[in-house]
Amino acid sequence: MASWLFYILGTVAVVATAMAVTRRNPVHAVIYLVNSFFALALIFYLLGAPLVAAWEVIIYAGAIMVLFLFIIMMLELSPGEEADRQGPGPLQWLPVLLLGGVLLVCILLLLQLDPASGQELPRWYASPRDFGYALFHKYALAVEVVSFQLLFAAVGAFYVGRAASRKEQPGGEQ
């Protein structure tokens, strides 16, 4: 039963990602991507990571994709001026598809050659309690460092995206 679920969810994820990647309208792409993330979250639950699944939805689909939507709307691209008006044509897609195909073949071959990859994934379940324990005991330092990193990112984003300084205005500073 679980394996059937896995394959269905996998198909959904792939199709949704493919749609997201090929849309002309970025908002449509974001919606499709959220769909894909939902499927992935369910796959994570199947693999025994319920906490990770929750976070996938909360952080990835809930925060990051929403941020994308905010920025898309903020950029105020007029409909006529939208980048990718035509979208890349088949002339652009074909070489990249070819490259992707070759890479896929290489990866498949590598998987075939590796004897250890045929193992079946066991059923298991990582309880939040165990997860929390591991996170705040074994990886406590990493948690602190990541929190610093989020601070830097916030400061950086604030600085990069600040309003245009008065120097750029024609009036000039008095």
Partner: protein
């Protein structure tokens, strides 16, 4: 027993390659960043699968860090997209070719 690990890896590589193609082909900066997101997700999938295979929590912990860092990275890169749009009035990637030799 769910699925062979191989199948998980195939799924992850498919997602990764789709993200890679998005990065290579799309001209809109936002779409390129979306491709990056897809690739990061695929990596996370592999990590979770590996932690399931070996029944250890480390993979999942790494995934949480990955998500944290991804969110930080996305915020900065979208701030940069805003800035670039202010500079060139467009987010077509072909407009940013000052490094041309």
């Amino acid at each position: 027993m769910i699925v062979p690990f191989q199948h998980l890896l195939i799924l992850a590589s498919l997602l990764f390659l789709l993200g890679l193609m998005a990065v290579l082909v799309r001209r809109n900066l936002i779409m390129i960043l979306i491709g990056v997101e897809v690739m990061l997700n695929a990596a996370g999938l592999v990590l979770v699968g590996a932690s399931a295979l070996w029944q250890q929590l480390d993979g999942q912990v790494i995934v949480i860090f990955l998500m944290a860092l991804t969110s930080a990275e996305v915020s900065i890169s979208l701030a940069m997209v805003v800035y670039l749009n202010r500079r060139k009035k467009t987010i077509d990637i072909r407009a940013f070719d000052e490094l041309r030799g």
